[in-house]
């Protein structure tokens, strides 16, 4: 089938080596520095704070937004993380998940709004989202390392690429699902586009947007192991160590930790949707 050769590999490498790194290197370095300060700040906060205090807050949040069951589960889960010596690793993972979810939401929701209100933008955004969701994550891990170095930062970037699409899609979906006559009514009384958006469309799209945030968070957590391959600390690196040393017990210990975090985060964000 090779009627002609397409040197994508060579082009890409030349592009990265000759242009991307020399020209944009400083720019990415400054992003990288800022992001690192942010992630490290959150991580340190979670690690330095007394675990008992954090657990208390977590249990209360779980109680408020979900119920007694989840509160109990959160307590037991925390005891488990402590008893297998993974509290600090768990906090590192939580920090990456929180930061990347935050970035995904801050960027994803406006982009979702744009896609819902502008057809041209929608036709540009949709294939980009498809690309982000289907491209194997290892493919963008490599440039992420080149641009952002090793550690937390490329992990956050890679997680962002992987986890943002649901935030965008669910925002778009939520806004498009607002009944047409409600939108018409708002316009007929003389709403500006902004008034229509923040007084009618966003409040009515909120359940869908919250579901998107929940999905984004779950995807971010699911990136923990892959992110550990580019040096992100946390539960993922424990699992990775278990894999590379064929230590089944260690792998399971870390894996259960991720499951605990996933269940607690999922139920709390779902509770947020219901409370709305």
């Amino acid at each position: 089938m090779n009627y002609f050769t397409l040197p994508i590999e060579e082009w890409t490498n030349r592009f990265v080596d000759d242009w991307l790194l020399p020209v944009t290197g400083d720019f990415f370095d400054s992003i990288s520095d800022n992001l690192r300060t942010f992630v490290d700040g959150v991580t340190n906060l979670l690690i330095v704070a007394p675990p008992e205090l954090l657990v208390l807050i977590l249990v209360l949040i779980a109680w408020k937004f979900s119920g007694k069951g989840l509160a109990l589960f959160a307590l037991l889960g925390s005891l488990y993380l402590g008893s297998v010596g993974l509290w600090e690793a768990a906090m590192q993972t939580v920090a990456i998940v929180i930061v990347s979810t935050l970035i995904s939401v801050i960027i994803g929701i406006p982009v979702g709004i744009l896609a819902a209100t502008n057809k041209t933008m929608a036709s540009i955004i949709r294939p980009i989202l498809d690309f982000m969701q289907t491209l194997p994550s290892f493919v963008y891990l490599i440039p992420a390392i080149l641009l952002f170095g090793l550690g937390n930062v490329p992990a956050v970037i890679a997680t962002f690429v992987f986890a943002t699409p649901p935030a965008v899609r669910m925002t778009t979906l939520g806004i498009l699902q607002v009944p047409a006559d409600v939108v018409e009514a708002s316009k007929a009384f003389g709403s500006t586009k902004w008034q229509l958006l923040y007084k009618v469309q966003l409040p009515l799209a909120m359940p869908s947007i919250m579901a998107g945030i929940n999905q984004t968070m779950m995807l971010a957590l699911s990136m923990a192991v892959i992110a550990s391959m580019i040096g992100a600390p946390g539960l993922g690196s424990v699992v990775l160590e278990g894999i590379s040393t064929v230590n089944v017990g260690l792998g399971l210990t870390g894996g259960l930790g991720i499951v605990v975090l996933a269940i607690v985060m999922d139920r709390i964000t779902q509770g947020l949707v219901r409370n709305k």
């Binding site: 006559d181 409600v182 009514a185 007929a188 009384f189 003389g190 709403s191 500006t192």
Partner: protein
Amino acid sequence: MNKIEVNNLTKIFGSNPQQGLKRLLNGDQKEDILAETGMTVGVNKASFSVEAGEFFVIMGLSGSGKSTLIRLVNRLIEPTSGEVLIDGQNIVEMGKNELIETRRKKLGMVFQQFGLFPHRTVLQNVAYGLEIQGVKKEERNSRAQKSIEDVGLQGYEQSYPKELSGGMQQRVGLARALANDSDILLMDEAFSALDPLIRKEMQDELLNLQNKLGKTILFITHDLDEALKLGDRIAIMKNGEIVQVGTADEILENPANEYVSNFVKDVDRSKVLMASHVMKKPAVHMMDKSGALAAVRKMEDAGASSIFVVDKENNFKGLLTIDNAINAYKKELAIDTVLIEDIHEISPDTPLNDLFGVAVEAKYPLAVVENGKLLGIVSRVSILSGLVLGKEEVATS
């Protein structure tokens, strides 16, 4: 001045509306344009005007373009060509801010499916129009409260729309449109989603409100009964065109074409109402024994130009016109020689439906006669009012 004036308003849906418009102006038919270009002519060169304080109804079946038309008036849909003058200002040429200002100050709208904001209470729904104008909370709530009371919803201010019945939801919709205090109300099939009893109640209340507040109302419906009941004037739409504009009577009497007369035939109440329901005791009648001069005097008293004539036993004899009476008096003729005898005689149980054509052609009122006796007369007015008002009103009046 006209409150709303619509001139040659056209809307073509599709890929290249301007091309469609050109074809339309060249005289191509809507069907041909659809078949050859795939473009739909939603509204086809519609023109009409609504005076201040008028209740103007646009009636048509679904697909006739009436809902598109009302949305062109406040530009929820962009017109392809033509103009819409609101208080003399062409809304089609307005900039964005001017359009928003006109919608806020001049145009209230009520929707078929209510279009209420589900996340807002009744009070917040009604106050919405004022809220987006930046009216202070206290003032907008008190103004909203007033229109909530106007539509009889006090006590439900803090309820959410989904907690209310359909009729109550539409009251909220109406209150929301009233709260802005705009002169014009656009009502898109406002009562079509309500069940018949509630619908009738809402119609009556709307008429009351209209009397009280003097709004200019543009009302869309597919229901001829509703159109006849509410409209000062009615425009009938078909295939995007306005085929006739007129008062209820004009439309009933002189349907512009077969399409309109088909509607008129279906006026429901005419099937139920009979001549006896709408007949009136003749204002005057006289015995054939008294003379022509007495007849003239009676006509003068009654302010009529003709009089029904009966004998002592109330047997119907015919109609005496003022001309004939004077003629008979001058020439000293007996009254029965100048009577018009080919008056339409109808039996009391003739359906109004059947009277319609007769009434249009007849020069004089119809005589309701049973066994030769005159029971009453039916005028054109009473046929039409019977059709419009329905049985209850006629029976109680």
